[in-house]
């Protein structure tokens, strides 16, 4: 049974921040929602409540950066770039302030609907000069996100998972690298965030169906190790499938497409994610199935690449779930 970790960010942030006095904890009225309520209560001197006023918070953070502090801004991802985009550009990204944007509820991980779902955040952030982007896909990555983000010489946006998070990996994020979860020869599967757990669900079924999968998990979206990706693409015979908790324009799928096009890689690519659509409010499982972000959608994408049916149905994926995720810990050693 896969280990589920409860509120990994809460303890990880506290452990990191207390050791680094120049780290400040900023919140915009979503303190318990971002799991920093305990930190607020125990370390009030290192915590700043800035209220429901994200534009001010962003420029204020730029000023704190100028004073030599490294503010960690906590809010839902959407509120860290949609409303305060101008401030993000002028006060944070341009001057390369060491501001750490901790964006919770990435993509469809919230039932809050359009206003709460950061579905184009990676596209927006990728286009901002000086910006780095990290995304967490399991509890170990959430536990290591603070140190990873704070190692970056400039601003960084992080997609952070909250609540009960599965532990898939046993090593921390190493900024600039990617995780190779399997080393097959037919199809390269590239996933990030919660999409990785979905890909792992399909793993045994695909193996039984005789499809050899090479699987990469991406935690560092920018900067990106282009050559490593090209080497992996060169190691598969059929093509590439990307699955992400994001719109398919501008995210990891686009990143892979750009690298393939820039380098004249003539293999088929299937990008899976929200296809030029908003989502609506609902449970994560429902939304992933409804919008084609789940293991089943990935299998269909792989079938498009190999040009054949795998015979894998929903039942096979459901029964594969627990064990497949568990085996991902071992896959780490690959």
């Amino acid at each position: 049974m896969v280990e589920m970790v409860n509120r990994p960010y809460a303890s990880a942030f506290e452990a990191y921040a207390v050791k680094h006095p120049d780290v400040l904890c900023l919140s915009a009225d979503l303190t318990s929602s971002c799991e920093i309520d305990g930190f607020r209560d125990r370390h009030p001197d290192q915590f700043l409540s800035l209220g429901m006023a994200e534009q001010n918070m962003m420029s204020f953070a730029g000023g704190l950066g100028l004073a030599g502090y490294r503010p960690f801004l906590h809010s839902f991802g959407v509120f860290l770039y949609r409303r305060p985009y101008d401030q993000l550009m002028a006060s944070v990204a341009y001057p390369r302030r060491k501001v750490r944007l901790m964006g919770f509820l990435p993509g469809i991980t919230t039932p809050g609907g359009m206003t709460h779902q950061a579905i184009e955040d990676v596209a927006v952030m990728r286009s901002i000069p000086n910006m780095s982007i990290l995304e967490t896909g399991d509890a170990t990555e959430v536990e290591s996100i603070c140190e990873a983000a704070d190692s970056i010489d400039g601003p960084v946006y992080c997609r952070v998972l909250r609540g009960s998070v599965p532990r898939l990996f046993d090593s921390p994020i190493k900024v600039g690298e990617m995780r190779e979860l399997s080393a097959g020869a037919d199809v390269l599967v590239v996933t990030s965030g919660i999409a990785t757990e979905e890909a792992l669900r399909a793993r045994d079924a695909l193996s039984k169906a005789g499809v050899s999968i090479r699987h990469l998990h991406i935690h560092t979206i920018k900067p990106f190790n282009e050559q490593a990706l090209l080497d992996h693409i060169g190691s598969v015979s059929k093509g590439v499938v990307v699955l992400e908790n994001h719109v398919i324009t501008g995210g990891v799928g686009s990143l892979v497409a750009e690298i393939m096009a820039d380098n004249g890689v003539g293999k088929p690519l299937v990008r899976l994610g929200l296809n030029d659509t908003y989502a609506h409010g609902g449970s994560r499982g429902y939304l992933m199935k409804h919008y084609g972000l789940d293991a089943g959608a990935l299998v269909r994408g792989i079938e498009r690449i190999i040009g054949a049916s795998t015979g894998i149905d929903e039942e096979a994926l459901a029964s594969a779930r627990v064990e497949a995720v568990h085996s991902a810990v071992k896959a780490e050693a690959l």
Partner: protein, 309 residues
């Protein structure tokens, strides 16, 4: 380098210099010099504790934007002195006042007059809308409304470190139409940020014309007080009133000085252009010549020698 000249004299120098530059360059931000000359002269010549400039008197050319590949990047803050705990910092929030701010740097001996010759020239750092790398500019403020928030963050950080230097934001009244200004005041008040003060040029003007015709902002002094600032209203051309306002106690709160100004102060001829004063261009050579004589006379100088156009 402070107080070599009287602040009144510096203010007159700012108006003359901006006038001369605008005549030669067929237009400019003239009315901002009219309204803000005393304010910027006051800040640089007596109110702020600024160290000696750390950057060359003749500005270096544009040397690239901040990036990981540009390790030698510097902002224009060095013209306001070294970034040390005891010194004040100044943000020019309305970045389109850059011409007036550059003229102030020259009048207070922080930049050579040659610097203004580079104004708005391709490849120059002396940009028309003050950028972070422009002389005297410390952060990007071209997008109006972000200056006070940034100043509040810097002031909070400096106070936390125990720095004695204060943070001053020179603002313009158009910025009160932006919601962020009010977010900044409430945050500064909530966190007791009292090493922060602002001097606002209240000239009732904005790009489209008189503010009342564009968007009424009503009684901003009452609004600032309601949001938690100490607010003092003065005549922007009365330096003694400005000095007194700066002394207003504001423990636990930011201080905001509303300097009610005339956008044609010292250049009465510009009243003919009211209310379109944001950027003054000449409609004809005749008008340019007429303005040259009239304003030069009011400023007590000879008309500017103009090149034929």
């Amino acid at each position: 380098m402070r107080n070599k000249r009287s602040t009144e004299d510096v203010a007159m120098g700012i108006r003359r210099r901006v006038f001369e530059h605008s005549m030669r360059n067929n237009g400019g931000y003239l009315s901002q010099a009219c309204s803000a000359a005393e304010q910027l002269a006051f800040l640089y010549n007596e109110a702020l504790n600024l160290g000696e400039p750390t950057l060359p008197a003749v500005p270096r050319p544009f040397a690239g934007v901040p990036s990981a590949d540009n390790p030698d990047y510097v902002t224009g803050a060095g013209y306001n002195g070294p970034f040390e705990p005891q010194y004040d910092r100044l943000f020019i929030a309305p970045a389109h006042y850059a011409l007036v701010a550059y003229a102030t740097l020259i009048e207070t001996g922080r930049m050579d007059a040659e610097g203004l010759e580079m104004f708005n020239k391709d490849g120059s750092s002396v940009e028309m809308i003050g950028a972070e790398h422009s002389p005297g500019m410390e952060v990007h403020n071209g997008t109006l409304g972000i200056g006070l928030s940034t100043g509040a963050g810097l002031a909070f950080g400096r106070k936390r470190r125990g720095d004695t230097g204060q943070v001053c934001v020179f603002m313009s009244d158009g910025e009160v139409q932006e919601g962020q200004t009010w977010e900044a005041v409430q945050a500064a008040a909530h966190h007791g940020i009292d090493n922060l003060w602002a001097l606002m040029d209240v000239n009732d003007q904005q790009c489209d014309g008189a503010m009342d015709s564009v968007m009424e902002v009503r009684d901003i002094a009452t609004k600032f007080r309601a949001f938690g600032a100490v607010c003092v209203e003065i005549d922007a051309h009365d330096l003694d009133a400005m000095r007194q306002a700066r002394q207003e106690p504001h423990e636990g709160q930011p201080l905001i000085i509303l300097a009610r100004s005339s956008p044609t102060q010292g250049m009465s001829f510009l009243q003919k252009r009211f209310p379109r004063l944001h950027y003054v261009r000449f409609k004809s050579e005749d008008e340019r010549a007429e303005m040259n004589v009239a304003i030069a006379t009011e400023l007590g100088i000879d008309p500017i020698e103009l090149e034929a156009h």
